[in-house]
């Protein structure tokens, strides 16, 4: 409630000095600074963010663009919220604020995000779960507004993205299965139009080559339970001597579907067939057998997104460019592969 003027009066200095003292400017005597700090503390002074943003022309805030409809459909809630926690913590550490934006039908239009960002004088925006082909997002990418995508491959003068290292994660899974003795390993993919699905398949193939596996068994799903079941059922129909002894499923939800299919076909996991998933969703540890899977480090991902965004804010797009950053994944061994 107390303004900068009260603090100035209390110390017998001008408001300019108070501002300088509190903002750590060098051109102020240390003794004076001490007194100002003290007075500010006592009076409980907190600078008005509006006033500050108004005069400085920037708000020290970043916006979070998300599409709630997409998220609901994509069922990626838990993971995204974990990422959000990581984002928020990194932002706190950097002294930035976070404003949630989702532009809906009413104020639609290709420049909607940009205008909102200008209105709030945002430093930049974080994008999660928004279709990268949406015109509103394209406009952001073409602009000078700093922007980092999350699991969505975007690029622009001041735009890039962060994601888990999906390819390496898939290879981790494959190596784990290989280490357990499996030589016929199948995969169930996500929709290949989505970057994570594509890269996980690429990782499967790279690993197959690296490990010298002879056959590929690729089943294509859509990340949802039912497609996992369908693919699992088809796989279970193969004659035992041809049937893969393990399957790397590109998403936990599909992995659970596949396990149901195996159970219905009289195959037991992990004895008859080993399963490793991807994502480490909550359910992975709630089902029996608990699912061995590849975990994404949500916290690191959030931190990386913030870090990248902040670097993007003040850099010159002309001189050097900032590329995508991939964060490592982790193998979580539970029961669905046996071997402990």
């Amino acid at each position: 409630m107390a303004g900068i003027r009260e603090v100035a009066k209390a110390c017998g200095v001008s408001v300019a000095t108070v501002s300088r003292a509190l903002n750590g400017r060098p051109e102020v005597n240390e003794e004076t600074r001490r007194q100002v700090r003290l007075a500010a503390e006592i009076l409980g002074y907190r600078p008005s963010v509006s006033a500050r943003a108004l005069v400085r022309g920037r708000s020290d805030a970043v916006g979070l663009l998300w599409d709630s409809a997409y998220e609901t459909a994509g069922r990626r809630h838990p993971f995204l919220l974990s990422v959000l926690v990581g984002i928020k913590q990194a932002l706190d550490a950097a002294g930035r604020h976070l404003i949630l934006l989702n532009v809906e039908a009413d104020r639609v239009g290709p420049r909607a995000y940009l205008e909102t960002a200008a209105q709030f004088q945002l430093d930049g925006v974080l994008v999660m779960g928004v279709d990268s082909r949406r015109p509103a997002l394209c406009a952001v990418l073409e602009s000078e507004l700093a922007c980092v995508g999350f699991d969505v491959p975007i690029s622009g003068p001041r735009a890039t993205y962060v994601a888990s290292d999906n390819r390496a994660g898939a290879m981790q899974a494959m190596r784990h299965l290989y280490g357990l003795g499996h030589r016929r390993i199948a995969t169930i993919t996500g929709p290949l139009s989505m970057m994570p699905a594509e890269l996980r398949l690429a990782g499967y193939r790279d690993a197959a080559e690296e490990l010298g596996l002879e056959h590929e068994y690729v089943y294509s799903g859509d990340f949802f339970l039912d497609s996992g079941y369908t693919c699992g059922a088809r796989l279970a129909e193969l004659p035992p001597e041809q049937r893969p002894t393990a399957v790397f499923v590109a998403g936990d939800e599909m992995a659970l579907g596949a396990i149901h299919a195996f159970a219905d076909a009289g195959l037991s996991v992990p004895q008859d067939i080993a399963v490793v998933g991807f994502d480490d969703i909550e359910a992975a540890d709630l089902v029996r057998p608990a699912l061995t899977t590849i975990q994404q480090d949500a916290h690191a991902l959030g931190a990386a997104a913030v870090d990248t965004l902040l670097r993007l804010v003040d850099h010159d797009p002309a001189t050097h460019t900032i590329g995508p950053v991939l964060t490592p994944t982790r193998l979580i061994v539970r029961q669905s592969c046996g071997g402990n």
Copy 2:
């Protein structure tokens, strides 16, 4: 980028008129208003939120207080994010913005939230997953700042809470089991210090009385998987003629634990024992048998929270008071109770 002055110049009127026209004030000619609107549209004028907040002394924004540590531990991510979606949509409809706040160790102190709110000139705050006994939250409750809690029972001059109607939800579950012919029904509770756990137990008891059930079987858990397993195992040890034929578990995660225990004890669900959970977590529909449960309407909850907060903002605490609001729950019938 275009300011109010450009618009004024373009129409040949003063900035005051532009402001009035755009804000729907009555004291402006409709013809003038039309022209101003047009010019603003063409120039792409968007008022600066900082400038507006500065002069009006309020920001049209609400803050979201959350404790990320708590959430991580509480594993309630998916539900909370769903609620968040509901909140955001309601806020959009009301033309308010949402700012995420989590005050951590560095800027700690009992008045931290209040100061932050003042700094941002927030209309009010929404609270989710913050321990209601935290001094920082207590200070908010005692203040004049509008505040609505989410699943945490708080009250103050301008504070109240919203929650699912946990008691009624528990009764729904019980009536469902009763309708399927069950007469010996047990319950596994959450930690009774938490409001939802307490009310679900109350609903169990109310229903038992209403339905004329003779015995109570109360097992106390802590909302986590393992406690569900433990309680389930104890329950399974009872001699068959005394053993309840159904159990209402106050949380889905515990319900899954109980089901594992039943399986390990050779009891099959739903034939030997029926199970109904609470929460409708994601895993509920991913396990087999899929879990019959009580669903909370996250969207309605979010909307109710916003609605309540906005009513709280401009009301006189002296004249009338605004109480807690409970939103209805819904029974989701899957497989764990049989009967379809």
